[in-house]
Symmetry: D2
Amino acid sequence: MFEGIYTPIVTPFNDDEEIDYEKMYHNLDRWGETDLAGIVVLGSNGEFVFLSLDEKLKLVKEVIGHFTKGKKVIAGTGCESTRETIELSKKVAELGAVAVLVLPPHYYKAGMKDEILYRHYVDVGDESPVPVFVYNMPGNTGINLSSSLVARLSRHPNIVGIKDTSGSIVQLSELVRDTEDDFAVFPGNAGYLYPGLAIGAKGATLALANILPQDCCTLFSLFKGGRMDEAQALQLRMLEINSLVTIKLGIPALKAAMDMLGYQGGKPRRPLRPLPEEGRKLLQEALRRYGGIG
Amino acid sequence: MFEGIYTPIVTPFNDDEEIDYEKMYHNLDRWGETDLAGIVVLGSNGEFVFLSLDEKLKLVKEVIGHFTKGKKVIAGTGCESTRETIELSKKVAELGAVAVLVLPPHYYKAGMKDEILYRHYVDVGDESPVPVFVYNMPGNTGINLSSSLVARLSRHPNIVGIKDTSGSIVQLSELVRDTEDDFAVFPGNAGYLYPGLAIGAKGATLALANILPQDCCTLFSLFKGGRMDEAQALQLRMLEINSLVTIKLGIPALKAAMDMLGYQGGKPRRPLRPLPEEGRKLLQEALRRYGGIG
Amino acid sequence: MFEGIYTPIVTPFNDDEEIDYEKMYHNLDRWGETDLAGIVVLGSNGEFVFLSLDEKLKLVKEVIGHFTKGKKVIAGTGCESTRETIELSKKVAELGAVAVLVLPPHYYKAGMKDEILYRHYVDVGDESPVPVFVYNMPGNTGINLSSSLVARLSRHPNIVGIKDTSGSIVQLSELVRDTEDDFAVFPGNAGYLYPGLAIGAKGATLALANILPQDCCTLFSLFKGGRMDEAQALQLRMLEINSLVTIKLGIPALKAAMDMLGYQGGKPRRPLRPLPEEGRKLLQEALRRYGGIG
Amino acid sequence: MFEGIYTPIVTPFNDDEEIDYEKMYHNLDRWGETDLAGIVVLGSNGEFVFLSLDEKLKLVKEVIGHFTKGKKVIAGTGCESTRETIELSKKVAELGAVAVLVLPPHYYKAGMKDEILYRHYVDVGDESPVPVFVYNMPGNTGINLSSSLVARLSRHPNIVGIKDTSGSIVQLSELVRDTEDDFAVFPGNAGYLYPGLAIGAKGATLALANILPQDCCTLFSLFKGGRMDEAQALQLRMLEINSLVTIKLGIPALKAAMDMLGYQGGKPRRPLRPLPEEGRKLLQEALRRYGGIG
């Protein structure tokens, strides 16, 4: 059901730290023209942790209202409490989200044993009106969802996939091996898109696709077409930019890169700050090296 | 200005996962009869991450309204965004909180460089109507606030102290050495209350004081009175229970221990679950070994 | 120059903890009949840290003397000091090793900055009579050799490859991208053999090849022949056994599996102990699931 | 039996990376004039991992031969294999070492479960002719010896103490609480000497005592004399220098500081390198701030 390339879209803010919807519409229009299978709103790159509940709901509504028909919109709804996660999932489903991407509760790291997390996801899966994607993001949450836990969750009829940003290709392989056949295993970072597809992933959710959506889709097509050498070459070429806008410089760099490439990134909300000049130079050089953009 | 023992109070929930105010009043009455200098509402042990904004505000109001006059109420107001942290700080100040305890933003761990955190805390310090306590909690946040960062923050006139739960006695020592003289360095766990006081801490904020408030205060008094051997002995005696209700079994154990000791812990909110039977036994045995409670 | 599958051979010990050469000869004969490109003696799986200098030299001599002509023997020579590493490299070269595999010094972890490691490897590369393979093994050493450091080292004419056991497919990709063209990038664990080859690795050094040498070589051949689906399927099938004999149960399990499969694993040296019964059962079940061995 | 301040002595090397015994004698004479209870040879600060077996034995012999009678010499004998550890312990005992300090095997980190480590230490304790000190050094070994494991080991008649460099004051407290009464719990870093003593340590083994032996002994005396405020003040004053010569800049800084203070540090052996100029400046400034040395 879910396959292809998705991007977790950024949320542009204006100088007053309010969501800048004009910039958002501009970006949505451009992404809509690509081969992206869909987008994720309220993901990590969307600075969802900085948004109030009202802002979240309005944002989902606007994004769904303005994005190309025929492409999917998934909404991030992970909250620390189970019931808040369920409530938010119900609300975004009502607004038209086709699925929810659910980050695990993680503040009480020591308490988040497999059994606790299992029951949390099952409770959410039971109550969410739309299918649930599990979201494994150890870099931000400090906890890793083991492949055995996710395999158990894949037996739930309403839990349909995982975005795995652990960076472990072995874990990704185990997910492919152990989850149900129709369960969508998605690498969560473009740094291992090609190896992830090679090992059996059905698609991917990539921050990089905010700025290079078509190239990410091209890599997917090359792989699907069996053109492995070209896919490998494109993968290697993508690494540098991808590393800058995700691991090394993060959201401020992703937003700056959008501005450099004809999108409208806007500002981040505090405590994040616009990318300093030094970072901008690194980014420009990397984009120059990257060359023509598909 | 701030010294002595504080406890970050638990939030009792009923079977429907709603805040149980009757239980809260009961606990407040009991804590009010002790030598505690004050309490912290909306701290980690208060499951603040599970509460909506409305719940937080009502809780602060009720707690301040019902707690013994003459003791201090500090409120936790750390949010991921700077502006939400400021807004919440203003609201709890209006409700009567004498200070705010501010957890750092931590979701974007890789982006939380010292300079970003410095500016965040300065912005909050500038805008908060009441003094700011920094809250270092690496076990839950995954980031550690270095002593050099906190030393810089201590120069701000409205940043007045730190609760440090890093567990590093060297870091605590550096904080004592490098922060302003009137800056309150508080260990954040009873596991190192006595060593912390020995090295120069002025007080402490201790989950253990939910269940053993008077014993924590006794240790403080013994130290103040120069009765080091007794303080050391009490410290060693406290370790086991403290470890169970903080590191090893967490909030569900703290709440269960409250029930065992005449307080009313109530239930945790999901994804947390009531302490399983096996944990209850460990806890009961440890409480039995602990013996008479001062 | 270096490509194909190598295995870091185990060192069988007898009941008195002495090296059991008869068992070693038996294993060498069997490995010699496979498509392995070569073997590594004195690697991590060879318990090199438990061997005295005299034992190391005798072992290298015996292994080279008894192993099939036409296959390569690489010797592990990493010691904590630079000069001991150089001396050992000279001695094994004299005994006929075609290359040395050099683990970084790692006891003084905090002191092992990139520049210190760079100079160490350059000194070793300058003095070693045979080519140097860098050995990145963070799981055991606690330090990771960054792709930028290894890229610099690849410019040295006598540093010819890396065994990378970091488990990071992104790092492996960066190594392929940034090292010299004739530099051999080898994944160091069979858990990511296929993804590693897909991204450009020229070969691999695999503990699993102690017990499943021909299957590892088959996966390599399938990949070389463009039979990606079969390679992927074999990769997934290998994961469980590989995980047991490397990450989960380690050398005692690898030796027990050798015994189960017609090799002669012998005992480990203390502090390691023979695999307990419970582990043996897990292993037997996994081998049964694995099925026919190519 | 063991109490007071020990220092793990540095090993001076000359320009050819050979042990410089003249410098060693000079240092031994100076340490001999202090109130140190003894020294540890072949400890981490002695660069024991860079020494051959012959060098180790000669060094132990020379140190015992030249050090002040009446003070104790403990020798580090931890090797990766159990039997090599036992052999070395027997040899240094024959040379006159009064005890051995035994680092745990740690290369196979994942395999070093409590039971494996327990049996290793019991085997060493059974065979060593002199008492055994356990050496917990997670910063270098990557494994932590839990307080429950050490408590079990303290029941062995020939295992008499621990040097704990974990930095956890809670763990140190648990060791005091759970080990046998005559078991010597020693903090292994001067950063928490005073808190360690306060919680019940009987002595300490401190790299800092290479350069400030008498000040470390003074802190010990102040504590013993109940002069807590002075002990605390001296502790805070020591932190900066201690941090530089241990955590931040390590052995090269410790050796440079020796030269600055009238000792003879000599050079480190490669891969370590003499302290760069920048580090020397930091060190000189810190020593100037530290002021008069007792």
